[in-house]
């Protein structure tokens, strides 16, 4: 601005011509702002519509019953909507998934960033990320047609639909996510930190587990929490392999119905729109949204609190 207010010197060798540039720059800023507003507005819209229907639902079914009933029978003449039934199934499949995915994902991340040769890493990392792109319907059939029959060899009482296979396969499907994000976090730990550890007479294993992993902790935990919310929201695998039987409890061998599976069932079925059973999917959707939101907030808080800033 100051240069513009000076009288232009025609003999100056430096003659900037940014007249048009300036208008283009303004336009670009507006355009970006517009897109940012669209994406935020969409999210707000989704949450609002969810909220309206949810409020409608709770006009009929008291919140207290929703939270404490021990049955999920939306189609009975005297329906009960105990969310705990669906929550327990979601918890069960997600818990099994995390049990599978955390050790698998973390160990591959550690191997990739600390032990694999640079050449191997160059190949494995993209391969891992491709694995993350396999459609979940493929994983769903994998669970139903391969994992369940295989597990039945060892566990004869295992149902054709069950939480165990679904959980294991969700775990496999989110392993690349944990591996890839954790690997980024581990790889980003400065070399200086490793050198400092070696210089104290520590071995590679002691350095990796004692110095590098703690330094990458916030990134690792963030990746795990992200994977948890992925597992909670996973739909195709549970709809295909875990069954559609609302049942309260934590038995992994029997068919169960998760929150997502219920939403799929009602959306695809012939439940009349406007009925209380139909409205219930919004309440379930809201619960799902709140659970994942809680995880994201925890993750955000954790990363903020424990992120180490090394220059």
């Amino acid at each position: 601005m100051t240069t513009n207010s000076l009288p232009p010197d025609p003999n100056d060798l430096w003659q900037p011509s940014r007249g048009l540039n300036k208008r283009v720059e303004q336009a670009v800023i507006w355009l970006f702002g517009l897109f940012a507003i669209i994406s935020v507005a969409t999210t707000v819209g989704i949450v609002l519509s969810l909220l309206f229907e949810t409020v409608e639902f709770f006009r009929v079914v008291p919140l207290w019953n929703f939270l404490t009933d021990r049955q999920w029978t939306p189609l009975f003449s005297n329906p009960q909507f105990g969310i705990l039934v669906l929550l327990s199934a979601t918890f069960l499949t997600s818990f099994i998934a995390i049990l599978v995915a955390v050790p698998l994902g973390l160990l591959s991340a550690i191997y990739l960033s600390e032990y694999a040769s640079p050449k191997l890493r160059k190949w494995l990392k993209p391969a891992l990320e491709i694995l993350a792109g396999v459609p979940s319907v493929v994983y769903g059939y994998f669970a139903l047609l391969l994992v369940t029959p295989f597990l039945q060899i060892f566990i004869p009482q295992l149902g054709g639909f069950n939480a165990l296979s679904a959980g294991i396969v969700i775990g496999i499907s989110i392993t690349p996510l944990i591996a890839s994000l954790s690997e980024d976090a581990i790889y980003a730990v400065p070399r200086a930190l490793r050198d400092g550890s070696y210089a104290l007479g520590l071995t590679k294993r002691e350095t990796v587990f004692g110095v590098v992993l703690p330094a990458a902790l916030s990134g690792i935990v963030a990746s795990i929490i992200l994977a948890v919310s992925r597992a909670v929201g996973e739909t195709m695998i549970v709809a295909l392999a875990a069954g559609l039987n609302p049942r309260l409890g934590l038995n992994p061998f029997v068919p169960v119905m998760t929150m997502t599976a219920y939403i799929v069932q009602v959306s695809l079925g012939d439940t009349p729109a406007g009925s209380i059973a139909f409205k219930s999917i919004f309440a379930v959707g809201m619960t799902l949204f709140l659970v994942t939101l809680a995880f994201n907030i925890i993750s955000f808080w954790f990363v903020r609190k424990f992120r180490e800033t090394y220059e």
Partner: protein, 268 residues
């Protein structure tokens, strides 16, 4: 060219480099260095950047082993035994010959744990609390941190972080401490504190320090080695030892013209 005025008293040598050359892949970085480091002395390595001071320093505790493609030729002995002998475990070498780096690199742990961690892993059987206290005292940091031992090491200032790294290095009681430009990232006051600290540590440890700062070398060191680099036919620069002797002699009556030019600030 290599003048070794101190080799007559070599019996006291703690670390000896004999005809050491270091390669990074095909690239020769330092050529044919022979140098004795003496016990309970401070030896300064000076010279223009890129002449291989850090490279040579890393030979003394086998941290070059950690660099892909680095190769050390010649012989490095520590108290008479070959550091690069087949049966020698580099982890054990580094346990006895510690290192402090150019940029402070405290672990992402509490101040207390920064020191306790390696001691515990190395199987220290005494009181860890006491060890932490004495190490911090020796590193002249205790008074500043004694009320916040639980806080992250990264919460300290740069100079404090570097003293924490020194405390961490001396906590495991090495015999030698290698320092690679330990003050180059610090302000003048922190620098003076660390120099003072080194003089105190001299009675218990053998110190080798790489420094860019010639005043620093002349202030604190007993012996000084001056390195320079020369271009080869292929255009690469190769570092070599120009002159080694008592610090006083190097700074007041160097034998080589290049040394004279360097210490008087005419190049580098």
């Amino acid at each position: 060219m290599t003048t070794n005025s101190v080799s007559q008293v070599a019996t006291k040598a703690c670390l000896r480099a004999k005809n050491v050359s270091v390669y990074y892949g095909p690239f020769l970085a330092v050529r044919d260095v022979s140098l004795d480091i003496f016990r309970n002395e401070i030896t300064a390595l000076i010279g223009p950047s890129g002449c291989g001071k850090s490279t040579l320093l890393r030979c003394f505790n086998r941290t070059n082993d950690l660099i892909l493609g680095a190769r050390v030729e010649g012989k490095v002995t520590f108290q008479g035994s070959d550091l690069y002998d087949e049966g020698v475990d580099p982890v054990y070498v580094r346990r006895r010959i510690g290192m402090v780096f150019q940029k402070p690199n405290p672990f992402t742990k509490s101040i207390y744990e920064n020191i306790a961690f390696a001691a515990r892993i190395n199987g220290y059987k005494g009181s860890i609390d006491e060890l932490v206290e004495t190490s911090l005292q020796r590193a002249a940091l205790w008074d500043e941190v004694k009320d916040k031992l639980k806080e992250s090491g990264l919460s300290l200032s740069g100079g404090q972080q570097q003293r924490l790294c020194i405390a961490r290095a001396i906590a495991i009681e090495p015999e030698v401490i290698l320092m690679d430009e330990p003050c180059s990232a610090l302000d003048p006051i922190s620098t003076l504190q660390i120099e003072e600290l080194m003089r105190e540590l001299e009675s218990r440890y053998t110190i080798v320090i790489v420094t860019h700062n010639m005043q620093q070398a002349s202030r604190i060191s007993d012996k000084t080695a001056f390195f320079n680099a020369e271009s080869t036919e292929t255009g690469n620069k190769v570092g070599y030892l120009v002159e080694y002797g008592d610090t006083e002699q190097i700074f007041s009556e160097p034998r080589e013209q290049a040394t004279q030019d360097y210490v008087s600030g005419r190049f580098g």
